[in-house]
């Protein structure tokens, strides 16, 4: 009888072991594409970065990373009356903030309600895009609340938002911990569509974003994963965005989280630029400060 139990155990253990092995796949050479990541916020100058795509399995190290950026493009931003050529800027590279190489403006500042046109000439291609800066979103209240079982040391940021049923709004959330984050970090699951809470008073929590989603070691060792520590001063930015801008980040984040999942149909990214892939988006920003106490 004992033997039967042992055999059973063996069989079940065999079943439970995940049979997994690395395989080597031949993929065809991809078509070269240019990738635009650009934004303009109200009261701020536009920022645009231009990179290349790479064959799927090509590994990345510091030299290949540098080669991804396009350094000799002509990037223009226009508000309908004024046009400005953006100049290349390497300051992000020294700080270790993505994107390392950008084209920045110094003349046109974003204004709520206006449309901005992007034109890029690079490597023989012409790239165009248009975006708007919608009316910023106003939150009722924002606060930090500790989570149970953490000795009151860790918590999430909570907000109350009164949705206007007549106004169609999309927004994107960012956080920045003073003295700890070098730049704005998009929240984990950063984009919202007001269709889910149209016209109601909506209470929601914000999870601190993960900058490098594939850095498994850092994620596993992060004691403050998704949360904010007591004592931190956190800035919260809510950027109001238009529909095309929302579609881009919604599909990109879906791809971040499900990319490589064999059970889901591949996500089709909704780019909003012509002649390349990527995004050119405006933000109507409101900034709030929360002290975690």
């Amino acid at each position: 009888m004992k033997i039967v139990y042992v055999i059973l155990a063996l069989i079940l253990t065999v079943f439970m072991l995940s049979c997994q092995k690395e395989v080597f796949i031949e993929l065809p050479e991809p078509e070269n594409k240019l990738v635009v990541e650009g934004w303009i916020e109200q009261d701020q100058y536009p920022v645009v970065s231009l990179t290349r795509n790479s064959p799927y399995f090509s590994a990345v190290d510091s030299s290949t990373l540098a080669n991804l950026f396009i350094l000799n493009a002509q990037v223009y931003v226009s508000d309908g009356t004024l046009t400005e050529q953006l100049t290349i800027d390497f300051s992000n590279a020294f700080l270790g903030i993505w994107p390392f190489v950008c084209y920045k403006g110094s003349l046109i500042k974003g204004e709520v309600g206006k449309s901005y046109y992007l034109t890029i000439y690079a490597e023989g291609d012409t790239i165009t895009g248009v975006t708007t800066i919608p009316e910023p979103v106003v939150l009722d209240t924002v606060w930090w609340k500790p989570e149970p079982n953490t000795d009151d040391t860790l918590g999430y940021i909570w907000g109350i938002y009164n949705d206007d049923p007549l106004l169609k709004q999309y927004f994107r959330l960012f956080t920045l911990r003073k003295g700890r984050d070098l730049d704005w970090v998009p929240a984990f699951g950063s984009v919202y569509d007001d269709i889910f809470f149209n016209g109601i008073e909506f209470e929601f929590s914000i999870y601190r974003g993960v900058t490098a989603l594939t850095d498994i070691e850092a994620i596993e060792n992060d004691d403050e994963l998704f949360a904010f520590k007591k004592g931190d001063t956190i800035l919260l930015k809510i950027g109001s965005i238009d529909r095309e801008h929302y579609d881009f980040w919604r599909t990109v984040e879906q791809e971040y989280f499900s990319g490589g999942n064999p059970f889901v149909f591949p996500v089709v990214i909704r780019h909003n630029v012509e002649g390349a892939i990527g995004v050119w988006g405006g933000y109507g920003a409101s900034i709030y400060q929360v002290i975690a106490e």
Binding site: I11, M16, L17, C19, K21, P30, N53, D61, N261, F263
Partner: protein, 789 residues
């Protein structure tokens, strides 16, 4: 034009009938002498010349012969042959009782079909799968599975390990009509397709139509799987069951009133979750999880008189998957299942007219509930049918078998109703949606001998489908995707109606006693569709009706074949070639997401296109002797073309399998011991893989290549099994047998899926991507103990 053909052949039928000479009919029911169980598909025939028929799904036969002396024969698998000399001076009612034969000799057939049915019948692509044979073959974990066994025949391929559907001649999983005692079973799979919902102990016969579907079936494009439950022993009480590695089953049957009425109840449940618990670490996230499935089949029948019989049968089954952790404060519960109930009334109008009336209820539902911290979400989906049908069989003479009837179904669809709450606030996910429709059909078909060598089966089916209210149509602006108008339809109000005539014709031309050529053409319409959420079949796939936007699927199948038996019907062989073209196939629009379903109609998210499938099937079967088995090979191609997918370029269907080979061998060592071996090989599944990557927001984004352009490695495996039935010296009431099976004998790591593992941090300057292949089942031995008393 079609109406004219219709009247022409109705006229021919009548003309043939009235111009006959002096003939009389012998008819009756054929049953098992010991249990009283009706025998389906029993051959009843006369010789010189060979002419005959088979019993129908209720064990009824009717044969019209010349006045005078005739010798009538009846034969069926596992029973001693029966014959009787009959002097025919008038119509005769003759019920036949066959006695089970324990002796297996060279002559006994191991298929349920008439020896030369391969050559004689007009229907191509139709075959029976007797349950007794299925039980002899090797099985996964010792679980006998009808659906897995039919996939061993050419033209029927598996969806892959862990996939619920099966594909027939390049058709999708929703294009197979699966019937259990006439009730539609919408999702015939337990545990994501590892096992089917059919408990073999409760079943009597399985009939598959993959080629020319006769006119009495409709509503699906690719195939019909018609499964009959046993009626139950009406002479004495009996029970049988088995204890297996992961599930156990028990069947109890017996008479309610001897020779008149009987019942059968059959149940099965897994306990893999209970067994696993001691082996899981306390810290394992699966610690509080459970997975189990159960099913229950029940049937009662009552013979009111020689002319009337009543049956009531039902099926109820459920899968429950519970992934929870009270410590981490989350709970995910997924459950799905079918429930069916059928009330049937057989009525014999006279010797030549048999009728069956049925009232059927069938329901499939799926529920997903997730709870985490303050967030609570529920998603339900399903379909519910109320169905009434009448089927008549009229045998005016031996030359014609006329079938006609009507079918009506009222469908209620719940495509996907979601509700969610966060911190007690109910989120607005739109009004819960239910869709209603009527589906109906009328059919008329006749199988007749045009000449001594040519037999034709011709039929017409008229089908109708109406989408009715209450229904709200959200009219969307094609560019902004915002709702610009809402149209309200009241209860019962017609939203959209479709009606079609479906011709079905097949013919057989005898070349000689042992060979024939057959050809067939069928046109089918399918009014309900399965929208697949992911690239493999899952219980989350939703059934949707045809609407103004979703047109009925249409399939035309052309097939031709050559059939030959060898060595006095010891071997049957065939070569069949088919071509199918399918219109109005459905897929989700690329990039469709959950939010798209809010205050929106499900069908606004679909896109439509065509499918084409063609192939050649080779089959060789040894039917008699100690060594039996078959080899099947299919070479086929299935493609789809959708204007909105893959930039309008043709792409391989998910289930495009270039090669599919099955080898089945069974050997009877002695009456107590038999062994069997199965080897399958098929071209790998298609997959859409990324071809390049780029960086957005400091993270990797994949760019995908053409749809289904990648081919996974081929799938092949070998299974063996041994059945041992000890026969004690003294005949005891308790009989037992052991089944030892090994699944995947040479432990091949067949790919289940390939995923990409990305590691690294761009801002720190390093990134690495690897492809990982996950396989499911390694070598799996199993033991099952079966008993009977």
């Amino acid at each position: 034009m079609i109406i004219r053909i219709f009247f022409l052949f109705t006229f021919c039928v009548f003309f043939a009938y009235i111009s006959e000479g002096q003939k009389y009919t012998i008819s009756g029911y054929i049953t098992d002498e010991q249990t009283g169980e009706s025998l389906i598909g029993t051959n009843v025939y006369v010789k010189n010349p060979v002419r005959g028929t088979t019993t129908n799904a209720y064990g009824f036969y009717s044969i019209t012969l010349e006045k005078g002396t005739n010798v009538l024969y009846a034969s069926f698998l596992g029973y001693s042959d029966w014959s009787k000399e009959i002097v025919l001076n008038g119509n005769v009612s003759l019920n036949i009782k066959l006695s089970p034969s324990a002796i297996t000799t060279q002559e006994v057939l191991i298929t349920g079909d008439r020896p030369d049915k391969n050559v004689q019948s007009t229907e191509m692509g139709t075959f029976d799968m007797p349950v007794e044979m299925v039980k002899k073959l090797p099985s996964l974990f010792g679980e006998v599975d009808i659906l897995k066994t039919i996939q061993l025949k050419p033209g029927i391929s598996s969806g892959g390990e862990g996939s619920t559907g099966f594909y027939v001649r390049g058709g999708g999983p929703d294009q197979n009509l699966i019937l259990l005692d006439e009730a539609v079973v919408y999702n015939a799979a337990h545990l994501f397709g590892f096992f089917s919902v059919f408990n073999a102990d409760a079943l009597q016969n399985v009939e598959i139509h993959k080629g020319s579907m006769p006119a009495n079936y409709g509503g699906r494009l690719a195939s019909v799987l018609d499964i009959s439950m046993k009626d139950g022993n009406n002479r004495k009480y009996a029970a049988q069951g088995g204890i297996g590695l992961i599930s156990s089953r028990l069947t109890v049957e017996g008479p309610i009133k001897k020779d008149t009425s009987s019942f059968i109840i059959s149940g099965r449940r897994t306990y893999v979750d209970v067994l696993m618990k001691p082996f899981l670490k306390k810290s394992s996230p699966l610690k509080e999880s459970a997975y189990y499935f159960y099913d229950l089949n029940a049937k009662v029948n009552y013979r009111l008189s020689d002319k009337d019989r009543l049956f009531l049968s039902g099926y109820f089954g459920r899968d429950v998957f519970d992934l929870s952790s009270s410590e981490d404060n989350f709970s995910n519960k997924i459950s799905w299942g079918n429930a069916t109930a059928v009330l049937r009334w057989n009525h014999l109008f006279n010797q030549r007219v048999f009728a069956n009336t049925s009232i059927i209820y069938s329901k499939y539902d799926f529920a997903f509930e997730a709870f985490q911290d303050q967030y609570d979400m529920k998603l339900v989906s399903g379909i519910e049918d109320w169905n009434a049908k009448m089927d008549f069989t009229w045998l005016p003479n031996t030359k014609h078998t006329v079938k006609f009837g009507a079918n009506y179904v009222y469908h209620t669809f719940t495509p996907n109703n979601a509700s969610a709450k966060t911190s007690g606030v109910e989120l607005d996910l739109g009004k819960p949606v239910e869709l209603y429709s009527h589906e109906g059909a009328l059919y008329l078909g006749d199988e007749f001998d045009l000449t001594g060598l040519i037999r034709i089966n011709a039929g017409l089916r008229y089908s109708l489908f109406s989408h009715i209210g209450p229904f709200d149509r959200f009219v969307k602006d094609p560019i902004t995707n915002q709702t610009v108008d809402t149209i309200f339809y009241g209860k019962g109000e017609n939203v959209k109606t479709y009606q079609h005539i479906e011709p079905r014709i097949s013919a057989r031309f005898m070349i000689d006693e042992f060979s024939s050529v057959k050809a067939g053409f069928t046109q089918n319409y399918q009014y309900i569709h399965l929208a697949a959420v992911s690239s493999i079949s899952l219980p989350t796939d939703i059934w949707v009706p045809s609407t103004e936007l979703v047109l009925p699927q249409r399939g035309n199948q052309y097939s031709v074949g050559y059939f030959r038996n060898f060595y006095k019907n010891m071997f049957e062989g065939s070569v069949e070639v088919y071509y199918k073209d399918m219109k109005n196939q459905i897929e989700y629009k690329e990039g469709a997401l959950i939010e798209d379903n809010i205050n929106n109609n499900t069908d606004n998210n679909f896109t439509f296109g065509n499918g084409t499938s063609y192939g050649i099937e080779l089959f060789l079967n040894k039917q008699t002797g100690k060594f039996t088995g078959w080899i099947g090979y299919t070479l086929a191609k299935t493609t789809r073309q959708f204007p909105d997918i893959n930039l309008g370029e043709e792409f391989p269907a998910k289930y495009d399998r270039r090669h599919d080979v099955s080898v089945v061998a069974m050997y009877e060592i002695n009456p107590n011991l038999n062994v069997s071996l199965v080897w399958v090989y098929s071209t790998g599944n298609t997959a859409t893989l990324p071809v390049s990557r780029y960086i957005i927001g400091g993270n990797v984004v994949n760019e995908y290549g053409p749809r289904n352009s990648f081919r996974m490695p081929a799938y092949h495996r070998m299974d063996v099994s041994l059945n041992y039935t000890p026969k004690p010296k003294k005949q005891r009431r308790w009989e037992s047998s052991w089944n030892f099976s090994v699944y995947n004998l040479y432990n091949r790591r067949n790919p289940y899926y390939i995923y990409f593992e990305t590691k690294g941090n761009i801002t720190e300057g390093y990134l690495e991507i690897k492809a990982q292949q996950v396989s499911l089942f390694p070598i799996l031995p199993s033991v099952t103990y079966n008993f009977k008393f």
